[in-house]
Amino acid sequence: MRTISRRLARIGYIIVPLALSAVGIATLLFGVVSLLAIQIAPLVWRDALLTLGGFAALSSGIWQLSGRVMQPINQNTPSPDGELVYGFLQSGKPPQVVVLSGGAGMLVLSSLGGHVSRMTCIVPVQDPVEYYYRAAGLFNFQNVYYVTPAPAPLEVVATLDNGTVADVRHLALNQQIAEHHVARLALRDPAGAVTPLPRLVAETIRDADAIILGPGSLFESVIPNMLIDAFREAVSTSAARKLYICNLMTEPGRTTGFSVADHIREIKRYAGFAPDYVLVNAQRINSDVHRLYAAAHQSPVYLSPEEYEETAVLPGDRDGQRRLVIEGSVVIEADLASSVIQYTATLDNPDQSRAVHVLRHDADKLTATVLELLRRT
């Protein structure tokens, strides 16, 4: 009895629409039967037969529904999309997630913290961790813990393709190098590469269900931590699914001219592994925004046909939809961004700001997509 009641209790989420549907079907059937005045038996027998048949069908339907709709979703449970929402809610312990990112990108993904059992953000090795806590306090992020990969910040320097060497944090500010990209990233003090990993970081990476790289600057936020040997080793040996959220646009002076494949190759070069999945924005931007970005030597990072290597089918994909595989990573296109109006001012004219349309990762879209991917894979 307990098993029956427990199983039926699962459909509590949809009891109202279910009951409405049942009433609708019964009323409709009764109307049809009355309308046609079907005389399949004497009146009493006909009514009794209809009632019993309807009750049996409804009971059977509800019983089967409670078993299919509310089952925890796993790889062995093929589920159409309509069932997935309930399936995710019922699937028990949500995953432990580690985010390797920095700057505004990490803050964009922080809303994911409310949907997972534990979210640990490992900030770039050159960044002060307190900045992230201040921002988190400002936006009231829940269930997000920020930690540094080393007991003290380490300086990261980038060598550009024209030979320029600069602190990676200053690349974005230098307009002279906008047309160039990073050719090599390194710690200013090579001894920093053997920095031991804090136990919290090592354990978090080891126990994670998913490691999310990005969103954020490839060379400023995602890759710097990989320059620490122990960190790189911990991430590459972790059994967690590794997911990279690719940049929406190339970054002047850092990834100018980079394609999706270039981003993945850089991760592979420094981390020693290719992410299992790569999320790429599918939404095309309008020409006005495009022109604005082009003036700043930036271009959208789209998946292009020439990057085709092989295909794969993602678990849960309907109709055998095929995904591109680049460098061993399954690349998934999804709507991840929104165009927002940003007010900017220059240091020369701090009082004169102007509104510009810019493309930004959308926190809600990104969270939904990441959760969906984690649930499916």
Binding site: P128, V129, E130, Y133, R134, A136, G137, L138, Y145, Y146, V147, T148, A150, P151, A152, P153, P196, P198, R199, L200, V201
Partner: protein, 444 residues
């Protein structure tokens, strides 16, 4: 600099009196550990405690408030003596103080803080200590340098007198030495410090020959009172013709009558009438009825045993030990309490000659016990706090409700369903005294 006072694994030893307050909010001497750390450094001390306490005792910004660009200073909330704190502040960043294996304090960069604050958030100080030992300079505090720490509840009582003496430099810097020509105020000894606005109505005796006496501003000492040092009387507290014997600390806004010896009254508590309170600890908002008295010495002069929640019966090893009444405990008139009695948060005991030695939190009754309904308790608390011009904040209400839920298992099978005279079933909670005793024995 960010100053953080944290709880470590030993909070469990103090579970009964720290159900509704962090360890670092336990008064001993003139201050709680948090107040003492703040007074010594001249800056606000942020509390890092169990999750259900953080809404009220933690900083409003949560973890975000615990990070600044400046170094972070960690202080163990069990450390009564903080003589080492000024030394730690002068140490190079990333220095850790240990004593007998306990993490006492640390001065860290924000980066290293982020590597251990996660453990401290879960009171895993040993993990934090091990991690810090990998990256920071470790200084062992040995011998006389090792600070006094609370391990068991009776340590608060044992350290009370010494702690008042240790607080002398801090308190004497704030409170002026008492000088009076009033012949009705008899002074013995010289270490008597009285804050501005305190009212001393003679005839009374202040005897500081065995230790200093501190009386905060706004306190009122009524005629025929006797205060023996070392003693601390908090701001706004009324001493109603009472005998306050040595080694007693009384927090703010209390009403104290009868005889009190070597006890700690956290604050906002009433023991207004006659009756003896010795070697005991009272939480905030405790009320003790007239003629209620506790024993602090066994007739066989043996050491007093005490039941600790989640641990069982422990021999305290001390001959003189009274009772521990957690926050919001209310006792009726004429109760007798044995030495080592522990009464959990918000319990309301009345109508019996001798109270049980162990009473779970949120217990109501005397001959027959039942669960104290949380909504009723909250309503009473709102009234009680309102009488002292204090508001029951939503955060504090949430804390009390959390404690109610957490302590539900300790009340065992008090819950039964009563059938009312009209046939309706009413959820109620009833247990006999014997059943409660059995339950406490089982837990022991």
């Amino acid at each position: 600099m960010t100053l953080i006072v944290f709880e470590d694994e030993h909070w469990r030893n103090l579970a009964v009196i720290t159900q509704a307050r962090p360890v670092f909010e336990l008064r001993c001497g003139g201050y709680t550990v948090r107040e003492r750390a703040a007074a010594m450094t001249g800056m606000a001390a942020l509390g890092m405690a169990r999750a259900h306490l953080m809404g009220y005792y933690g900083p409003p910004g949560g973890l975000a408030a615990m990070y600044s660009g400046e170094p972070t200073v960690l202080v163990n909330g069990r450390c009564l003596g903080l003589d080492w704190l000024p030394r730690l502040l002068a140490e190079p960043v990333n220095t850790v103080y240990l004593a007998d294996g306990d993490l006492i304090g640390a001065r860290l960069t924000p980066a290293l803080t982020s590597a251990v604050l996660y453990y401290l958030r879960d009171q895993q100080a040993a993990d934090a200590r091990d991690e810090l030992a990998r990256f920071a300079r470790v200084v062992e505090l040995c011998g006389a340098d090792a600070p006094a720490r609370i391990v068991y509840p009776w340590d608060l009582i044992g350290q009370s007198g010494e702690q008042i003496v240790r607080d002398l430099p801090l308190l004497s810097a704030r409170l002026p030495a008492y000088v009076s020509n009033d012949p009705s105020v008899v002074l013995r000894g010289t270490s008597i410090f009285v804050g501005p606005g305190a009212r001393l109505d003679g005839p009374l005796v202040l005897d500081a020959r065995d230790g200093p006496i501190f009386i905060e501003g706004g306190a009122h000492i009524e005629p025929f009172s006797f205060i023996q040092g070392p003693a601390y009387i908090g701001a706004g507290t009324l001493i109603a013709s009472a005998r306050i014997r040595g080694e007693t600390s009384i927090g703010p806004v209390c009403r104290i009558g009868g005889e009190v010896e070597a006890s700690i009254v956290q604050g906002y508590a009433n023991k207004h009438h006659d009756g003896f309170l010795g070697h005991s600890w009272l939480g905030e908002w405790v009320n003790i009825g007239a003629m209620t008295t506790n024993s602090d010495l066994k007739n066989n002069y043996g050491s007093v045993r005490m039941a600790l929640d989640g641990i069982g019966q422990l021999d305290s090893g001390v001959l003189k030990l009274g009772c521990f009444l957690a926050d919001h405990v209310k006792l009726g008139i004429g109760l007798h309490l044995n030495g080592g009695t522990v009464i959990g948060t918000a319990s309301n005991i009345f109508g019996v000659h001798s109270a049980p030695k162990t009473v779970p939190a949120f217990t109501w009754g005397g001959e027959v016990f039942r669960e104290y309904r949380i909504d009723t308790m909250i309503s009473v608390t709102r009234t009680v706090m309102g009488r002292r011009k204090r508001e029951l904040s939503p955060a504090y209400e949430a804390l009390l409700r959390a404690v109610f839920d957490m302590t539900r298992p300790s009340r065992g099978d008090m819950s039964v369903r009563l059938q009312m005279s009209d046939g309706r079933i009413r959820d109620d909670h009833l247990a006999t005294l014997g059943a409660e005793k059995d339950s406490s024995l089982r837990s022991a």
